[in-house]
Amino acid sequence: MTKKFRILVVDDEPAVRESLEDWLLEDGYDVGVAASGGDAIAMVQEKSWDVILLDLKMPGMDGLEALKRIKEVDSGVEILMMTAYATVDTAVQAMRQGAFHYLAKPFDPDEIEMEIKKIIAHKELVLENILLREKLEEKYEFEEIIGKSHAMQEVFELITQVAPTDSTVLITGESGTGKELIAKAIHGNSPRCYMPFIVLSCGALPDSLLESELFGYEKGAFTGADHRKKGRFEMADKGTLFLDEIGDISLKTQVDLLRVLQQKEFNTLGGEEVIKVDVRILAATNRDLKRAIKEERFREDLYYRLNVISIHVPPLRERKEDIPLLAEEFIKKYSFEMNKEQLKIAPSALKLLMEYDWPGNVRELENVIERALVIGQHKEIVADDLPLFRKEPYVEVFPRSLKMMEKMHIEKILGENDWNISRAARELDIDRQTLYNKIEKYKIKRG
């Protein structure tokens, strides 16, 4: 089952809205209707649409004005103008203003179907490109784990040893230590490297949603299950499934998970068919699972299933010798991104970095360096550029443009979540598709 594309029908005539809605629902699209240009703009502001079928002649705001304003809100949405024969010239004008195409009313059924399929094929290609780009970048993740400390050298050694096997690995470590990078490195250096690497952050999801995400569901399995959904286990078949924040899952999900780990098969929610999968499991947690077992919050049998091999990522405060190297790497990364000259760190600033305890670990260091590069006015990074160590309140530098603000915020959240789209989308309180659209719209690139 493919992802549901969203189509918004904008027409002042109820009969047109209704017939198009019925027609598109039969095609399995997620369809919305709006009776005016104003309603359409409000709906575009609220959520992301893939295609908008927009009537040219409407009372009040006409189609051309609506087109212009919709494109201002979401330049990524494709718009098909609908028009009577008499106004074809205006429709051509609409195309000059960014409409994808126009359809003369009434349509031939295959005409509308073809136009929508063209747009969807284009959108799928864009999405595929983003995913491929992510995949390509994943290849280099191993090199992105930086550390010359003895503790990190041991971690690298372990990765090299465990990567070629099929063993389950439990990665432990505080938040921000880069557990997902370790998981990607294991996958990227394993024989499964050309197969999917699927991530699921278990901690952020409610139990029912986690179950759906892990095992998928059949259409009609529960209220709102209006299409079949593949679970992450199915998606990760022949590849690797990385279960982050495994220490946060409920006992019920622990039992479900244990069953899959033992039997290598499962049923989707509401499905009769047993699905067999060949998935390597990597799990991570920042919790003390042994203590959780004692407190009966975590099943011992699952712990031993997951903890066949364990890799502990040391906190940054225990490998301070890596700080200069990491800082230098982040300077290189962000200088390039911001098109700035690569700065050095003043000895006094480096001293501060070395003395700090880094409760947020490598992620916190990365954020501090990025911020220092944004606000720094000197030829090198000085102590004053490090906001964490300032006594006086820190004043954020905000861009004037709302668009730039949105772009920077998305970049920040993506960075903080290691470009995990699902996590970032959740944090931004938008869906994945909307996030993909915005990444495309703002041409945000992974650093």
Partner: protein, 182 residues
């Protein structure tokens, strides 16, 4: 819930056509069928400018004429049908609903200037009936061009597909069916 699908002629429809639809549904879907008395199409559904009948209005009228005492209701008509935004439709169904209508008008080879061909016409009729019944049960269009649930925007689409559900649609069809019957 009864497993009987009612087939209702709207306007004059030859008995052979109605029986063929009934046999196809019985054979392919393991459902019983009965052919009901003919109803006349409502005059208000006719659009003089287009020379066609508004399928939504005909469908609503059919539902009014037939109380919901059967599993599903399929109207069969020789009228040329449309929905306001489209030039024509081969059929129309209430998605996840009770009722659908199929039109034989554009299934006839003669409509396309081709010679009469009863086998071809009957094959088209079977596919259209299964397709609309699938929608009534909740199936959406399939991406497999051979599957009977593939969208028929043109008659060539109907001719290309098979009178069968693909394995996924088959499973879903029967899953919906059992769910509706329980």
């Amino acid at each position: 819930m009864s497993r009987c699908v009612t087939i209702c002629p709207i306007g004059f429809v030859e008995q052979d056509i109605l029986e063929h639809v009934a046999q196809c549904i019985e054979r392919r879907c393991s459902l019983g069928c009965r052919i009901s008395l003919k109803i006349e199409p409502p005059r208000y559904a006719y659009n003089e400018n287009r020379g066609q009948y508004n399928s939504k209005l005909v469908l609503k009228y059919l539902l009014q004429c037939h109380p919901c005492d059967c599993f599903r209701l399929i109207g069969v008509t020789c009228l040329d049908l449309y929905v306001p935004i489209l030039k024509y439709v081969f059929g129309i169904a209430q998605m996840n609903g009770q009722c659908s209508i199929i039109s034989t008008h554009r299934l006839l080879p003669q409509f396309y200037g081709q010679p009469q061909n009863l086998d071809l016409f009957m094959a088209r009729l079977e596919k259209t009936a299964l397709h609309e019944l699938g929608h009534c049960l909740g199936l959406t269009h399939c991406r497999d061009r051979r599957c009977v649930m593939y969208s028929s925007a043109r008659i060539e689409d109907t001719d290309f597909k098979r009178p069968d559900f693909c394995p996924t649609c088959f499973e879903l069809f029967h899953w919906y069916l059992e769910r509706s019957l329980s």
